[in-house]
Every structure is written in C-alpha cells, then in structure tokens.
Symmetry: C2
C-alpha cells in the first residue's frame, strides 16, 4: 500500500458545470405525474404553486441530457466540492479481498451528507424567483440541516417539519438547523390539518416522512410567498445529485479504473441516482467495456419498496396532497418501523429509479438493521470514518458483493458514502450495547397495504 494514492480530488475548475439528466437518454421514459382529482398528466406549470419553477421544469424535462449548473450554485459547491474519491485500502485489508473498493466521500460536506448538493440549487431557484420562505420535511435531519444552511446562504426563512421520533432521538440535528436560523417543528404537529387529523386518531404518533411531507406541502400551499423543497424522490433532486457521479467518473479515470459494481443506500433514490446515473449513461449508450456494470440499491429490510413493493401510481405523502407518481411503493399509508436510518424510512421510490428497476437496468437488495451496523463498525475501524446509519446499508451491500467473489478476483466496486454518523452516535451506542434489533415487515402486511393501491 505504501506510496499508493489513497484519495483523488479534482481541482475546482473540474467541478461539473452541468448536471446529467438521465431522463433524456432513457429508452422508456418515466410516466408523468397525474392530477389526483382528474388523473390527467400534469405539466411543469401545474407544479409551480408548490415548487420553484426551475425545479418543476427540470422535473419533467425528458429531452435535454445536460442541464447547466448556475454560477451562483457552483460557487457554493466550491465550499466543499469536489469531495474525495477514496480507495478503501483499509476495508479491503479487513475483508481480505483482491477487489478494489472505492468510495465517494460525501460525508465531508459541512452538513455531513450529500443532501447539500440539492439544497443549494433548490434554495437558489426560490431566491431567484423572489420567494422569501421555504419549507420542507426531514427525517434524521440531514436534509433539514442542509436546507436550513442553504436557506441562510440565500437569505430565505426556512421552516422544517421533522419526524417526531427523530426530533426527540436526534436533538443535535435539530440544534444544527436552529443554528442556521430555521424554525423546526416536530411532525405530526397541530399546526396543519394533516397533522391534526393524525394526532386526533393517534395522539402518540411518532411521525413518518410521508406525514411530514404532507405538513410541509400544506404550509407551502397556505402561506403566501412560500415554496416547498423535497430532499429526495423527485427527479430534479436526483438530477442535482449527479454531481456525485460526474465527479466520481473523472476521479475513477485518475485511478485508471472503471467500476464493475456501483452501490448506494436507498431511501427515495437521490444519492443512489446521484452516483449511478452518470455511469449508467454509458450502459444505456452500449459503450464498449461499460455495459457490464451493475447498479445495486441497498434498502432496509423493514421498508422494502424496491424488493417487495408494487409498481403503480401512488401519493408521495401520507395525506395525499402530492401528485400521483408512478413508483414502486408499499402504499402511502405504510408506516415503517423505527429503524435508526431515518433517511430510509419512506414508502416509495423515485420515479426514475422505479422505471429503471422495472426495465432491468439496476438491482436492489434489502439489509437488516443489525447487519448494517456490523458493516458500519467494520468500516469505521478500517477507514476511520463513522458512517451514517443510512450509509451503513451501502457498506453492507458492498461486503455482500465482496463475499460473492473468489479470493483473487479483482472486481472494482464503487459505493457512495452518503454521510457520516457523528450525530447518530446514540444509534451506535445501542448497537454496541447489544440492544439493537432487526425489524421485519411481514408479507401479509405488505400485501394488505399494496392491495389498497
């Protein structure tokens, strides 16, 4: 290992100038969102009341493969990009493998995760069209913290609905949002009709991403001069995240390698899409030597929409405020177990990823909670970085890939380290003390939820 390069970093002028829009290259385009009342396809302008206009246009753009990154956004990317591509020599040694394992380290972002990549443009586009308030939901708080920071960068007021269980279990992330001046409300709350309806039925409801989205969308609809921003699931969010994969591609070139497998954890699909889509474009274009690459999404066993969900039109939120989206779903009323990977507790998969999975361009695996933390601790001791509980799923999937290889097989594996776990140590505490349990969702429960769709 001595003398070999460990980290690959791009000079600032090689930070991408454009995002990659895979929708333009897909053979089968994603189906459009539908108006829930009329079930008619929605256009970008139908979405303008909720999201920043530029985001709506990007959401439904199926023709332009490259979308310019505004200068103002790219300047803010310079605060932490490029993120390093790291050769995981330590992990390779710990696993005793001949595989070459690389990870893209998005945890070096000031907010500790990849989420900032989309928070910055979403806040920027709001600012650009003169909006003064921005609202969103957050689970573990990675997205909320990123949006709170991005809002403060562009002088916007931010209101964040945080899933109640995370609000209580992860007070540090709430404080981070407050440090940036955001107003944080535990969800479900009495401040919205969606929240009230749930609390009336179940006063002890611990919340879910689906419910928090309903509350934020309701706030955006009922507040003048206020737009809603989403941290994953939607196509424009994955678009912004392609900076990850575009950088990784150049950095893999510096290392003289091309990945055989690309792996990321899966909540709504934004970090997965971010690292995968730039490599997948070569597969779609059938470029020689680049068609064999496999793309693996690692989801929690307790929220298995990709491996056990149904492909259909469903709502993005619990209350049914959003358009109907074509996706793999467990049903928008599905309440995931209280796993520590709060960012993966979502009932549906993004529109693009759902289509790609349906068309066989990618795969999915489900990971139990204990296996994910085992993998996370192994990685921490080998590479010195404590991964976020979400990212532990990608590491566990990487270890599974390695275990499938023969000892001398030199496969190249790339995974996305979407964030660090320094603010999630209470979860590690629980794992280290042996108190962490697996959650399994029964086929009957899944079928009961899916049958309603």
């Amino acid at each position: 290992m001595k003398g070999k390069t460990k980290r690959y970093i791009l000079p600032e002028d090689e930070i991408p100038h454009k995002w990659y829009n895979i929708q333009a290259d897909m053979t089968v385009k994603p189906m459009p969102p539908l108006n829930p009342q009329t079930r008619e396809p929605m256009t970008a302008s139908d979405l303008y009341t909720i999201f920043a206009r530029e985001c709506c246009d990007q959401e439904l753009n199926t023709t332009d493969p490259w979308i310019p990154i505004p200068d103002e956004v790219r300047e803010m990317y310079k605060y932490y990009r490029s993120t390093p591509l790291v050769r995981a020599y330590g992990l390779e040694k710990a696993l005793g493998t001949s595989a070459h394992i690389y990870f893209k380290n998005e945890s070096v972002s000031p907010m500790g995760s990849h989420k900032l990549n989309s928070a910055i443009p979403q806040a920027y586009y709001c600012k650009k069209e003169g909006v003064k308030n921005i609202t969103t939901e957050t689970g573990a708080g990675q997205w909320g913290a990123s949006l709170a920071y991005a809002a403060s960068l562009f002088g916007l007021e931010a209101a964040v609905y945080q899933v109640k269980i995370s609000y209580e279990q992860k007070p540090y992330r709430r404080s981070i949002m407050q440090t940036f001046g955001a107003q944080v409300t535990p969800s479900p709350s009495m401040s919205t009709r969606a929240g009230k309806n749930i609390l009336t039925v179940n006063p002890n409801c611990q919340g879910s991403l689906g419910t928090a989205i309903s509350e934020a969308v309701e706030l955006a609809r009922t507040t003048p001069d206020c737009k809603y921003a989403l941290g994953s699931v939607l196509s424009h969010v994955s678009l912004h995240q392609t900076v990850i994969g575009l950088e990784a591609e150049k950095q893999m070139e510096m290392a003289g390698e091309y990945p055989d497998v690309v792996i990321a954890c899966f909540g709504g699909g934004s970090n997965f899409g971010g690292i995968s889509f730039p490599f997948m474009r070569h597969k779609i274009a059938a470029e020689p030597g680049k068609t064999h690459t496999r793309f693996v999404a690692a989801e929690p066993a307790s929220c298995p929409k990709l491996t056990k969900g149904k492909f259909c039109y469903d709502f993005g939120d619990e209350a049914g405020y959003t358009p109907l989206l074509p996706m793999y779903s467990l049903g928008h009323k599905f309440h995931p177990s209280n796993i520590h990977a709060g960012g993966l507790r979502y009932h549906g998969a993004g529109v693009i990823v759902s289509q790609l999975l349906k068309d066989g361009l990618m795969e999915a695996v489900d990971i139990q909670q204990v296996e994910s933390f085992q993998a996370g601790c192994l990685f921490a001791r080998a590479e010195g970085i404590i991964p976020a509980p979400e990212s532990c799923h990608a590491i566990a999937a990487t270890i599974r890939e390695v275990k499938k290889l023969k000892p001398d097989e030199e496969k190249v594996i790339l995974f996305n380290l979407s964030g660090h776990g320094l603010v999630d140590m209470a979860s590690y505490d629980k794992y280290l003390s042996g108190d962490l349990i697996n959650y399994t969702v029964s086929d009957d429960e899944i079928q009961a939820n899916i049958a309603k769709l």
Copy 2:
C-alpha cells in the same frame, strides 16, 4: 467572488515528509523538564517509562530542525490530508471587511479535529517498540476519539480517562471512542489512587484535564506493557501538529499570499504551535517580508494562563506525577470553570509556547464564552461549518483583529479551524436559548493559586 478559488488542496505527494522542530531554531531554548524529587534536569531516557521512546527523544531534541515523518504515519495522514486551506469569502462579506481571511480546515479529519495528527504517530511509535496498551486522558473527547482510532489502526488496546463532566455532557464522543474499541472511564474514578484521593475529599468532583492526566499516567506506570500519550502541551505533540502549518504555507503560496496575522485557539498549545511554528521560523530567521507577522493565541477568559498566569516550573497534572515543566501556569491545583470548550480547560501552557511568549515572539488574548459562541454562529452561517467551541475562540480573535482594521485595509489573516462542533450541539443549544453564561476568574483566585508555585 465568482470564479475565484475558494479552497486550496495539495496533491498527496506534497503532504509534508518532515515535521518542523522549532526548538532547533529558537534563540532562547526552552528550559528542561525537572525531576520533581531532585529538581535535576531530566533526559529523554528518564521519560522512557511513561512515553514512547521516539516521543521522548523528540521532546528534548533542540538541535534538528526537521524530523522525518515515518512512512507508516504519512500513509495514514493520506486518509484525510492535505486538509483544505479555505478563503473565507462568506465571513469577509459578513464582516464587511477588505481583509483576506483564510482558515485551515482541520475539521475534515475523520475524527473532526486536528488531534489525529499526533495520535497517529504516538500510536505508531508505541506499536513500533512493541507496546500493546496505550492510555490517555481526554476532555471534550476530540483527543480521546483520535487516539482510540489511531490505536485501532495499529492494533493497540486503548484506555481513556474522560473528564467526568464531558463524559456526561458529551455522550456522543464517548460512543465514538467505544466504536473504535476503546475502554472509556469517567475521571475522577475509583480505579486509581489519584482518582480515589480526589473523590474521598469531594465525591461530586466533575473532574479536570489535570486529574484525568494523573489517572492515565498512574495506569501507564502500574500496567505492564503500557505507555501514556498526551494530546497537547508537550513539545513532541506540537512537533507532529506542524503538518498543519507546513501545508498551510504551501497553500498560501498557491493563493499568492503570506499571513500578516496567524491565529489559533489555545488549550495546551498544540494546534497553535501546529499552525504557527512553520511561519514563525521565517520570523526567527529574519527573512525579508516575513518578520512582521503576528502570532495570536486565543484562550478562554476563565482559564487565562497566557494572559494572567505565572512563568515558572509546575506540574502538568493535578496529582503531581509528571515532571516539572517550565510554563505559564495558573497552578496545577487550579480548577477551571465548566466552559463548553472542554479542550481549553487546562491550567498550563506548553513549554515551547511559554518560552516564545516570554521572549515576545507571540501574543495572547482572552475570550469570554458568550463572545466565542457569537463568533461561532456568525462563522457557521457565513461558511456553513459549525465550529468546535474551542475553535470559536480563534474565530472571535479573528473578528477582533478585523475590527481593528480600517474598512479598506487589506491585511491577510490566517486562523486554524481546529475542529467542527457537530458533536457539541448541546452547547450551541444553550447559547441559542440564551442560557450560556460567562465565567470570570478573579485576580484574587489567580494570585492565591500562583502564590503556591
């Protein structure tokens, strides 16, 4: 600001190959440590029973200005170095200044602070001489986490005494240490004579760094095959930290600038020495254009050893186990107030820094707790990084420097961002809710302590 470089990062082959030993260049050399029984100067070999031998040799080396960094250590530095030098455009704008403000971002280290720079070589030297156990103290936990990680890298068992108030207030850092397999004990504890003596008199004692050092040193002395490692104060620790300043010097060259002022927070002196000494060598050598640079240490007002302490021989720990060291001290029995910057709660200053301050080569300022958090929040909103409570002192001192300038004065200020505060959010919570208070230590209390020296 558009298009200007924000971050300067060195290629891996420019990570320093040598540390800079300022002792070799100092006109007035530091006085030697004394045996407390005989008051005779101690030699390196007198220290071998406590510390790794290489560290003892480095501690008293006043002849070689450059000490080679072992290949094994430099390979581990590659896990996170070089750290970025960042032009703080956001902070400049927030302050409305023409000054050019740069910071060296040591918070990107996987453990979140500069401490790893010395933890790695100290663990390596122990491993190299066949030692199997390593023990240390920690305050807020930045050092303990770093040593726990470094120990795991080299296969050593680590035992950490953590100051009790931090053990209770900052459980996340304890969990980080445990994730790396370290045994963590709150100090004072009943496991050592030093701890027992204190708990007998005061069962509710909240601990201090001085006490935790006594416990760790006692463990090292009474345990076979066990060495002690210290996170600051000693000269070999500052030596290892010079990677910070050596990198910063090359990075400032990339930016085409040279600092007029260099600033760091001050606990024992290692991050201050780390960023300062490489620049100070040009001042000592009277190089043209490099003699005017000022070096400013920012200490907490509640623990003002540099601004109000006495230069004398004193113990490094509460129980009086260590050699007598020539330093600015508030007395080894001084118990600092419970400020949130746990890493700055230490009664004495490192030997080298004490001599440099005495000889007028540097300055010191004291910062109140509330001012430090004000500065930290301003910086967070401007640059997106939440600084450690310790680092907030350096930012506050930077802001004071800026306020001394005329609006169009283009001074170049460099400070060290020693760590991030993501694991210290409970402290920010307290500040944001208005519950944070200042602590002042009266001149009478200082005089009473100093009179005993």
